[in-house]
Point group: C2
Chain length 570, copies 2
């Protein structure tokens, strides 16, 4: 199979890839530098030129936007973290994959044509060694990953000379306290470290993945790279169709951001979609298979209890979490507690050997305004709080998933309860959607809720695309979803008073006021789209635009006013 790297066009003109070196570790942190043009003013007939400092922005696109790196999708990305991991001396490369299913897929010749070939043998913790970022943090160790994210998060402050609390030591202390995580499976050394926690920049996750009815591997890989390109911080592969294993391999090997999955989806495929046939053994092997491939975090719906099944009938829209509905059905059929709950300690033991984080799934998230903040939802949240402490006992990093559909006035309660019930583990919500009546526009209904809940402290927001409730997103839907969520995350960063967050807004507004059109486009979240719209009105570089025309440009008049006032005040 041939997959072209045709993702990166000239999406970010006037931008350069730059790297900042670490002080504690031999690391290079990539960021994007947006070069601006000069401000030129004519004052009393003299041409006054002022330099505008470049703006450095957080960059999730990885090597795909580095002209010095030739990315070959068939080889996968450079394994930047491999040496950091090996130097810690606490992991070993195992001679072969241990997942039975993984072995079977590997040995199946019929899959050769769609297989990613440049694989490596997996790493695992040495017997008796703890290797998670949480473990290191608790030991007082600042890892390369921690320094990496400190540089990344602090970049906007640095350029303004703002002294920030975000130091490598602060990163360590937040991870030690469970208030933040760095999802970083040792088998995904291609990923650039990033941090999820409410004292850092708000992050956004994108969901991709095929279903039984659509979309092939090439398309999913393209969506993955595309999602990172526009600003996705993490990526969940929610594939439920054919070739889940092979699709995921291609995605992980080419993903510069952490990759998450919901392992129960694949476990269910392995038993041909028959929920009653799911077993702990099938699930366990699936976890190991995915740990060895390099998945960075698993959504696990371990808070779904048998007793909660009776609450489903009270709801307008039942259970809308796929994992939640699968596990609830399993509990009812077998009339026993879910194996995710009963085996949770064993799950954590497995995850800890690869430093896979757990994202405790909200199987009972409300799927409608009507069901928001109901009993089923909050009873599950209580269980997630208890599981958080269990995971932490194994040094496993934890985030907590949240809803869903919630009207604006009920969002605050979600955040407050999550903080207190789940001991400040980072909250990771899907939207929430603030109304049910706008299918086709749910990136907007949910960006409104996401901005609110992120402002209140949610650490990561999971995007929703315009196709939500209607079908699988395509490339353009991914772009629309990512940009809507970049907006929500950034609006929240500003509202939270994140130091330096407003720098880019100020640079944009200054460019706007000075009619530096190109700078305005280049500073945008989506320069291509801004330029495209501008050109529709006729392309030129005048001191006004088609919106107001020459006589009605308020900004031009403002400049006249300032000049006039200056003269009169002299």
């Amino acid at each position: 199979m041939k997959i072209e790297n045709n993702i990166v066009k000239d999406s970010y003109p006037s931008s350069e890839k730059v790297y900042v070196n670490g002080n504690l570790h031999p690391i290079r942190v990539g960021m994007r530098k947006i070069n601006l043009t000069d401000t030129v003013r004519i004052i009393d007939g003299k041409r006054i030129v002022t330099h505008n400092a470049p703006v450095y922005v957080y960059d999730t696109s990885g090597a795909f936007t580095d002209p010095d790196v030739e990315v070959n999708i068939e080889k996968g990305l450079q394994r930047i973290r491999e040496q950091w991991i090996l130097q810690r001396g606490d992991v070993e490369q195992i001679p072969d994959i241990t997942s039975e299913y993984g072995q079977a897929r590997r040995n199946d010749k019929t899959l050769d044509s769609i297989r990613f070939k440049n694989t490596h043998k997996p790493y695992r913790a040495k017997e008796g060694r703890a290797i998670t970022q949480m473990y290191y943090a608790r030991q007082g160790i600042i890892t390369a990953e921690m320094e990496y994210v400190a540089i990344r998060e602090n970049m906007m402050n640095e350029q303004q000379g703002i002294a920030s609390h975000i130091t490598p030591e602060f990163v360590r202390s937040e991870i030690a306290a469970g208030r933040a995580i760095i999802p970083a499976n040792i088998n995904h050394p291609e990923a650039e470290p990033m941090i999820i926690g409410r004292n850092f920049l708000v992050k956004l996750n994108t969901n991709i993945g095929n279903s039984a009815l659509s979309s092939g591997i090439a398309e999913e890989v393209e969506k993955a790279v595309w999602s990172c390109h526009w600003g996705g911080d993490t990526l969940m592969d929610l594939s439920t169709g054919n070739h889940i294993h092979e699709t995921r391999e291609w995605i992980i090997r080419n993903s510069p951001v952490p990759v998450g999955t919901v392992p129960i989806y694949q476990a269910l495929e392995k038993v041909n979609g028959k929920v009653e046939q799911l077993t702990w053994e099938v699930y366990r092997d699936t976890l190991i298979e995915q740990c060895e491939q390099g998945v960075d975090y698993f959504t696990i719906h371990a808070g779904v209890l048998r007793a909660h099944a009776n609450l489903v009938g009270e709801r307008l829209t039942g259970i809308v979490s796929r994992g939640g509905s699968i596990m609830t059905k399993w509990c009812v059929i077998h009339n026993q507690e879910s194996f995710l709950y009963t085996h949770f300690d064993e799950i954590c033991e497995i995850l800890s050997q690869y430093d896979v984080a757990v994202s405790l799934g909200d199987g009972m998230r409300p799927g409608s305004i009507h069901d928001a903040n109901d009993r089923a939802q909050f009873l599950e949240l209580d269980v997630l709080g208890k599981l958080t402490q269990k995971a932490w006992a194994h040094n496993v990093q934890v985030i907590i998933e949240g809803p869903g559909h919630v009207p604006l006035h009920k969002i605050d309660e979600n955040m407050q309860r999550q903080l207190s019930t789940c001991h400040e583990a980072p909250f990771y919500t899907l939207g929430p959607l603030t109304t049910d009546i706008a299918p086709g526009y749910d990136h907007i209904t949910s960006a409104i809720g996401a901005a609110r809940i992120a402002w209140l402290g949610t650490a990561m927001i999971c995007y929703v695309t315009p196709k939500e409730h209607l079908g699988l997103p395509n490339r353009e839907d991914v772009r629309a979803g990512v940009i809507a969520y970049k907006i929500a995350a950034h609006a929240a960063d500003i509202a939270k008073g994140h130091p330096g967050a407003q720098l880019r807004d100020d640079a944009m507004s200054k460019a706007r006021y000075e009619f530096r059109w190109k700078d305005q486009f280049n500073l945008s979240l989506d320069p291509e789209r801004a330029l495209e719209y501008y050109k529709l009105g006729g392309e030129y570089d005048g001191n006004y635009c088609t919106m107001c025309g020459p006589n009605f440009c308020a900004m031009r008049l403002s400049q006249d006013i300032v000049k006039d006032c200056d003269k009169k005040n002299q």
Copy 2:
């Protein structure tokens, strides 16, 4: 000129236009009835059919969606309010238009080809009579307009049997207190009455209009009707190019919603764009011209003072209000107070003769995150508070315009100050945009802010389209802007606890849970778009969609769970 009524396609399938009669007045209030299909369940082999009640929704589209009315754009809409107005016996038809400019345009033969021909002679208050809705309300009179909006606002409660506070008497009392307005120029009898106030449904305004660089009359009329069709509650014609007078006539005669303008734009055109040549006389004639045409509310930037001009230089983006920058420049050039401020009483006298409402413009609204909530903005707000009381002394209805660009954490202060400073006159804001960095997506950056401020009590939100900052919106941009703002307004209505607001959400979610796909589309804000996206995944009516495929449909699994639980609990 021939303008086709090609606006209305089958955008709202399964919908009917229905009318509810008044009790106090001979009025018919149009609304849209969405018919739903039955719920069919198979229980123990038996087919159980349950009826789903139709959902009645607020309808801004006027006669354009009534199959019994043939709309002829060249004739204009039916003058539904004319008899109500005449029966009050306090207005008279004047023999000719009195605006000099209006007369000149009328007599200019070269304009015949673009002129709307089916004009009527204008009405005006009889000498010494007060005719505004505010005047009537203060006298304890419940007008036909007041009963009309009470029926319109209360419709969602009625169908749920919710006893609501929204009665004709409540409408009257809110208008008398200045907390709500019904913009209803006696010369725009085609408009269906609507109310703007924070104890009613949140409304949205759309801006259309050409600039010197673009777009003709036919296109603007089409955008106007299109805007009402998707849900715009009011419409501002912000034209600044050629033929402002003629364009407006076409728009008003075909607009089922109130029309607003910013008269200073046209006044400036009359002096060839030369700010220094603006005079009270030119402005006054423009007011009369537009009062006689039927404009329902005027944005008047009378709060811009000479003293505030010196604050412009402190800002990152100066003045971004066109009207604000024009008037500030005028003040500076002439070094005197603005004629809008000095002649404000005379302005109110004119407006009161036609019941034109005043929308006190925020000439100093911030145009960037940086400038939000600054001195210039709040000093002007104080002036607007004083002007509100002046207008009320003339029985002129008032709304107050607000920003602009405001980060999430600074929105609350805007609402609080507006309420206290402006004596609870309705607030009408443009967005606000919560970040500056997303040109091309400002319908989203601003829908986030609009939902927040509307939740806090803003009565009407002015839409922003994806083209904001880049160019004039086209038809599809108008649709995108309106839907984004319908979402924000509805999210706020739910959050405010508006009785009945959640009815449509619940009907939608029930349809979703029961796989009644067509009902789901028909209940959407934009059924066409929802259906279009759904079809991309392959059209069928199964018990699942392309998003999850058959084995992973949480809602189908939920239904199994409920059945299983019911059996086990028996």
